[in-house]
């Protein structure tokens, strides 16, 4: 029996927790195997939840979010026969699968698209909280923009300093508006629920938004340029699947473009927005990255962004 433990954001965070949930649901739909999940209310519940699941013979147990690292390390040691997985963080243990994403690569691609779509030569980014993970998104995005249009301007805003930063669509909208005021006409968000407000503001102002994590193109058809996909759902699904047919293997999995772990969304909602040239350009960039001819800088590697 598989299980998921979400991060503080909770199952409905419009972000990676939610897509983990989506993946799990899909697994349930495909295999008919029920899973159990838990939304923690505070940090002390991380360990508690993981341990409870392990005690009750759940496996694999997927922990969503880097904050679970310590807890996973601890509990995994207590239950060597239980399989654990952690998203967005590496935990080195014989029974833990660590899945990390190259958000910067995906962000790079949407950066390319943003640059091409922008008529003003100014684009924006709205992050939830100023933490390394979000800076990684931002850095990749800037990279993509600059690579496409060297002297395009990128405005960056962070929403807040408390948990509310992820659930404040109104503020998100304002941040986007202020960027539009400054001339931006495409804005990319990595801010969970706050981002809903960003995309809304873009739609209201007749500008373009860029979704994140899951495919948000459908929120405002024709108003969302694209979405940076971070396939936590796939990752979760795969871990569950592996657990089911006994192919679970510990160790680090890095999901980048090459592995299809990140990418950009193209569907009927945004097809009209993506001109052939844009498509060509972004495909080329994708190919280059896969081939390694283009190295997208990973903010994490040195806590700095060269672009």
């Amino acid at each position: 029996k598989p299980a998921v433990v979400y991060d503080l954001g909770g199952r409905n965070d419009k972000s990676f927790n939610e897509s983990a949930y989506v993946g799990a649901e899909k697994f349930k739909a495909d295999t008919g195997i029920a899973f159990q999940d838990f939304e923690i209310q505070n940090d002390s519940q991380r360990e508690q939840a993981l341990r409870k699941f392990a005690e009750r013979g759940f496996s694999p147990v997927v922990a969503i979010g880097f904050s679970h690292a310590e807890a996973v390390k601890k509990v995994a040691a207590e239950f060597p026969d239980t399989h654990f997985a952690i998203i967005d963080m590496v935990v080195d243990a014989p029974n833990v699968a660590s899945i990390v994403f190259k958000e910067h690569e995906g962000s790079y691609l949407v950066g390319v698209l943003a640059a091409l779509a922008s008529k003003t030569g100014k684009v924006g980014f709205v992050g939830g909280m100023d933490i390394p993970l979000i800076r990684r998104f931002a850095c990749g995005y800037v990279g993509g923009v600059k690579a496409t249009a060297k002297d395009d301007e990128v405005f960056q805003n962070m929403t807040g300093t408390t948990g509310a930063a992820w659930t404040d669509p109104v503020k998100g909208g304002e941040l986007a508006k202020s960027q539009f005021d400054r001339g931006a006409d495409v804005v990319y968000h990595a801010a969970g629920g706050t981002g809903i407000g960003v995309l809304q503001a873009a739609a209201d102002a007749g500008k373009l938004g860029i979704g994140v994590d899951s495919n948000q193109n459908g929120l405002h058809p024709g108003k969302v340029l694209t979405s940076m996909l971070k396939r936590v759902d796939v990752a979760t699904y795969n871990v569950f699947k592996a657990g089911q047919d006994g192919t679970f293997k510990a160790g680090v999995t890095v999901l980048g473009l090459a592995e299809g772990g990140v990418g950009w969304a193209l569907d009927d909602n945004n097809k009209p927005l993506i001109t052939p040239e844009m498509k060509a350009a972004v495909d080329k960039a994708e190919a280059d990255i896969k081939a390694g001819t283009v190295q997208v800088h990973d903010y994490m590697s040195d806590s700095a962004c060269p672009y």
Partner: protein, 370 residues
Amino acid sequence: MSGPSRELPRWVDLGLIPLINLIAAFLVTSLVFLAIGESPIESVGIMLNGAFGYGSGLGYTLFYTTNFIFTGLAFAVAFHAGLFNIGAEGQAYLGGLGVALVCLPLGFLPMVIVIPLAIIGAALFGAAWAFIPAYLQAKRGSHVVITTIMFNFIASALMIYLLVNVMSPKGSMNPETRTFDPNAHLPLIHDVFAGLGIEIARSPLNLSFLWALICAVVIWLMLWHTTLGYQLRVLGANPAAATYAGMKPPRLIIIAMLISGALSGFLALNEIMGSQNRLLLEFTAGYGFVGIAVALMGRSHPFGIVLAAILFGALYQGGADLSFDKPTVTRDMIVVIQGLVILFAGALEHMFRPQIARLFQGSRFKAREA
């Protein structure tokens, strides 16, 4: 605190009535369970069992209780001096910084040295964060409610900055410090017992629980058995009388807030030094705000606060277990239930008082007349 002052026997006031209120609270909660098609009996059963029924459950309950004792006391002390300190959240956050600044560099020292230092660190930083609002209230009359709200926000900004740019190890994904050295971990109760050769279930419950109880006693003594406490209470009850009696309100205001801030800071002992063993974002998780309810439901009396804290600890832990066992009961349901208990056991505490009062007074006249 407020309400009809018709004096009732203490045991009725402090025992019977709260009990009846709790029962009422659970009855209403049952309705919620029925609404989502869960058996109330069973659900409440799970909550109670989860909170008190087994070792680690009880451990967690008392672990949360510790937090609430600290924040509850913090609010109560200021409240007795007529101050409304809703800055416990920020003061506790800074307290965490104090603990970290002791535990990170000095983790190599023996525990008997680190622990007192950490306590001091927590107190100092918590108090320091309360000082500015206190000073402004005392000298400029700036309303402490606003300033403390603002300082909560400022604290969160400051801490993110420090955790992301200064205190987190290079290249680490997490906005948190490295784990403290073993000597800088507050011993967990189950380890302590293990040391004595007694096996008890593991839980984050740690020595700071004892410290919390000690604080409760000390604060009780301070408030009702020392001149300082007396002065604080006079200030709170009748500021004019305080001046008449030759007390120095500004000084008292600052003292009250500093004590309050220090107590808030101790939250970090439990969460950071006792449980997480590293400084991380938003570990205060709203305990500061709930502390207000804890304090007021405990009638701002340390012993009442301890009881209220246990109630809230049980709600948190029992709730967690419930939502664990019953997927239909989400995290949000638990919050609703907590709210209902606060409403019925706290805000509506006088609902049944008149009836009960009538019962008892009836009998008491007879006694008098006879």
